[in-house]
Assembly symmetry: C2
Homo-oligomer: 180 residues x 2
DNA sequence: GAAGATTGATCCCTCAATCTTG
DNA sequence: CAAGATTGAGGGATCAATCTTC
């Protein structure tokens, strides 16, 4: 450490790390810019809306939604408040547990996320999947899962956080939010 | 897109993408928290200090330093101002080009980054390299480079942004030839 | 006009404090 | 006391506007 700052990384590791570190800086910024320009929402707001859109009745507890978006309840609470002001999400109390709160996607919110989804997916495909071979797709998934296990040892498994798309567009319930 | 929000991604791709997307959210946060708790600086501040520490005379133009930290000149300018207030970096005018500004690491700044480096490297090893096989190290580097090319097509090559450690702790103003 | 650099308004995230319910 | 959730203060990133020099 006296002569070289990154002495504990070999030359090969250093190069692999820099490529990855740059990606960690650049890719989220690119996805963020794309969502802001194309749809006018943040990437994280999209994650929240998309997550809700694929849940039964478009509803999920704040606690579980935070897990499914790799976030914290605090951050989620702030974002849901913003989404509520835009009329895309509303809060509902949990009748079975007074501590719990449901986040519910509104009809307007569903329309928003349905308009945003194909553009976002296309961008992910363009930036992440198109440059890679199919073997590399799987390698990326495997590698990411392994690192994630080290980063968040007690976190939920990724497979358990992928919303199942079956329930989309299920029950037409209450349509419009109250505010005008 | 009417039935399923992420219809354009196959089930396999969806799982790979979620694992990677979660990593994009969790790993930077983990590195950030680690640096703040252990050293009291942000991860990006460390990148700046470490980059400077490995340049000849611990000096680099703002423009080039921004490239080497996958950043923008604007962000870098704000950060360097903060580092200047802490006494770790100082600005110097470029005698050859009135538009250009040099960022120079101070002795205190060098001591700081030298104290921080082994801890940061150890954390990177623990979170990124230890969970992977050597083959996966290379795969990660290759994959990251490929995606980066799609994200920043006109950006500098990663190899050109890795500070060469040869020059560290150099005393006099000597122009060093690059090793072939 | 183009390139290097700085500034500041605005937005968002983080984190600790707080509250309520189980 | 533990778990779910909210709030607000403080800090950092973004982006457009601006300035200077080539």
């Amino acid at each position: 450490m006296d002569r070289e700052v990154d002495a504990r990384l070999s030359a090969e590791e250093l190069q692999d790390w820099y490529a990855f570190a740059f990606l960690l800086l650049r890719l989220p910024a690119a996805l963020e810019t794309h969502m802001q320009r194309e749809v006018g929402i943040s990437h994280f707001e999209y994650l929240v809306l998309a997550g809700l859109s694929m849940m039964p009745r478009h509803t999920q507890r704040m606690r579980d939604l935070a897990d499914n978006t790799a976030s914290t309840v605090s951050r989620l609470s702030n974002v849901v408040s913003r989404l509520e002001k835009r009329g895309w999400v509303r809060r509902e109390p949990d009748p079975d547990d007074g501590r719990s709160t449901f986040a519910v996607l509104t009809a307007t919110g569903l329309a928003t996320v349905e308009a945003a989804a194909p553009r976002h997916t296309a961008e992910v495909r363009r930036l992440v999947f198109d440059p890679l071979t199919k073997a590399q797709h799987r390698q990326l998934g495997t590698i990411a899962t392994r690192i994630l296990r080290a980063v968040v040892p007690d976190g939920p498994r990724v497979e358990d956080c992928i919303p199942t798309p079956h329930q989309h567009r299920q029950t037409p319930e209450i349509e419009e939010p109250v505010h005008g």
